[in-house]
């Protein structure tokens, strides 16, 4: 693949840790629980994986058998150098996210810290192009705030990552997390973990689940907006990662309509929901549905701004989007915005040259 002529900021790259790599960053007794007591993280997803290599691109699995995304040199070669990324934002695969773990908050908190240290040392400080996400175990809110205080000022940390799962993050209980993020010029990145998409349950087939992930994104946005998070924290931004984007006009129209009727209940909203969306929420493009240029252009028009979409590959996952093939041809100015400028304008800590 030839190098792209335009700059690319990739807003969703999954580096992956193996427990043995993270152990040296983990405090006791948590190290002991993993090495001697064989603790492993719970998995929620009930499906046998439907693609060729589980949830990974089969050609991203390392030649020595290590999982996709676990080696920086390989990632540089297959992704960053090959495509010619200007910047990439790491969104991890600590599976499930510490904030999605059930019970044992201490372990979740310890894992998040170890992960942050590993990410900084092994990735962010080894490749100028890579920027990172602060991991927290949000269920222990106060420990999560401490973790943001501890690593949030690292120059290459650009956001705090929260999973889209079965916790609605707009609840005032979590607002101190947003306050800490805002204080450190960090945005919030939300990436789906394993959200139950059917009324709190899993559908029968993976294809149903994967089709409906954007509904979980819409729920979080609706929840965050009507709980007043964006009014309370005007400098906070939210990046919705890996839900595609064709649903954006729908949820804007729906929220605006509801707001006209029911504003009485949420008087703290000073702007109509679609304006809050346009100012403080961004959406990564992958997994992009196959649209014609005309369909794509019309969709952007329906959003009322071309500043929402930020390109992402989701490397090294099975539903990776190629920067040259996933989106239709578009006008050069729009292309520059979607592939780089929108993300640069959104993340205060990403160099905006």
């Amino acid at each position: 693949m030839a190098k792209n002529k335009i700059a690319i900021v990739d807003t969703d790259i999954h580096e992956r840790v193996q427990y043995k790599d993270i152990l040296k960053y983990l405090d006791e007794p948590f190290k002991h629980y993993i090495t001697n007591c064989h603790w492993i993280q719970e998995k929620h997803m009930p499906y046998t994986q439907p693609a060729v290599a589980g949830v990974d691109r089969a050609d991203a699995v390392l030649p020595d058998g290590r999982p996709a995304g676990s080696d920086l040199t390989f990632m540089q070669k297959q992704l960053l150098d090959d495509i010619g990324h200007e910047y990439g934002i790491l969104t991890s695969a600590l599976d499930p996210s510490p904030s999605s773990m059930h019970g044992w908050y201490e372990m979740a908190t310890a894992l998040a810290s170890a992960y942050n240290d590993w990410q900084i040392e092994e990735w962010l400080e080894k490749d100028d192009r890579l920027y990172g996400s602060v991991h927290i175990a949000a269920q222990d809110r106060d420990a999560a705030v401490k973790e943001i205080e501890r690593v949030g000022s690292h120059p290459k940390m650009v956001q705090v990552l929260l999973p889209i799962d079965d916790i609605m993050w707009g609840d005032p209980f979590y607002h101190p997390i947003f306050e800490a993020a805002e204080k450190h010029n960090l945005m919030i990145g939300m990436h789906h973990n394993e959200p139950p998409v059917y009324y709190g349950k899993w559908p029968r087939y993976f294809i149903e689940w994967h089709t409906l992930i954007p509904t979980a994104h819409m729920k979080q946005i609706t929840n965050m907006i009507f709980n007043g998070v964006f009014d309370k924290f005007p400098n906070l931004g939210l990046m919705m990662i890996e839900g595609g984007f064709t649903w954006v006009p729908h949820i804007m129209w729906k929220m605006d309509q509801q707001y006209r009727d029911l504003r009485h209940e949420v008087p703290w909203l000073k702007r109509k929901p679609s304006d809050i969306f346009k100012e403080q929420i961004r959406v990564t493009t992958q997994p992009a549905e196959e649209l014609t240029k005309q369909e794509f252009t019309s969709l952007i028009e329906q959003m009322g701004t071309d500043e929402i979409l930020c390109f992402s590959t989701d490397y090294p996952h099975w539903d990776y989007d190629s920067p040259t093939r996933a989106l239709p041809n578009m006008d050069p100015d729009l292309k520059k915005k979607i592939f780089a400028e929108n993300a640069k304008a959104f993340y205060p800590k990403l160099p905006n040259s």
Binding site: M1, A51, A53, R57, A58, D59, Y320, D321, S322, R325
Partner: protein, 119 residues
Amino acid sequence: MKEQVVCKTTDLEPGQMKASLFGKQNVLICRTLDGEFYAFLNQCTHQGAPLDKGMICGATTDKSKPGEYDYCRKGEIVRCPWHGREFDIKDEGRMLANPNKKLPSYKVRIENDDVIIYK
């Protein structure tokens, strides 16, 4: 007409596939379980993934009824390493979910133990 030896028949067991070059084109040579050879452009029609990094396998066929799987065609289907689209080796490389799309293919001939492809 341009033709070229792309591999030896012994390079591929039945049910295997490999990448090779036809001039400058990256091609995929497939061998089905009956021993036949087939050749396609080694690039997925969707987003261009290298198909040799995928899988040669069977398919859950359109004979399946809701809740009941019919799995057969072993060694006759190529699945893409990225999004998993399936292409039918024995049906001109047609995509199972949309048979109007097919992988560009090449003609294949065996001479001695050479696999030769041509346009």
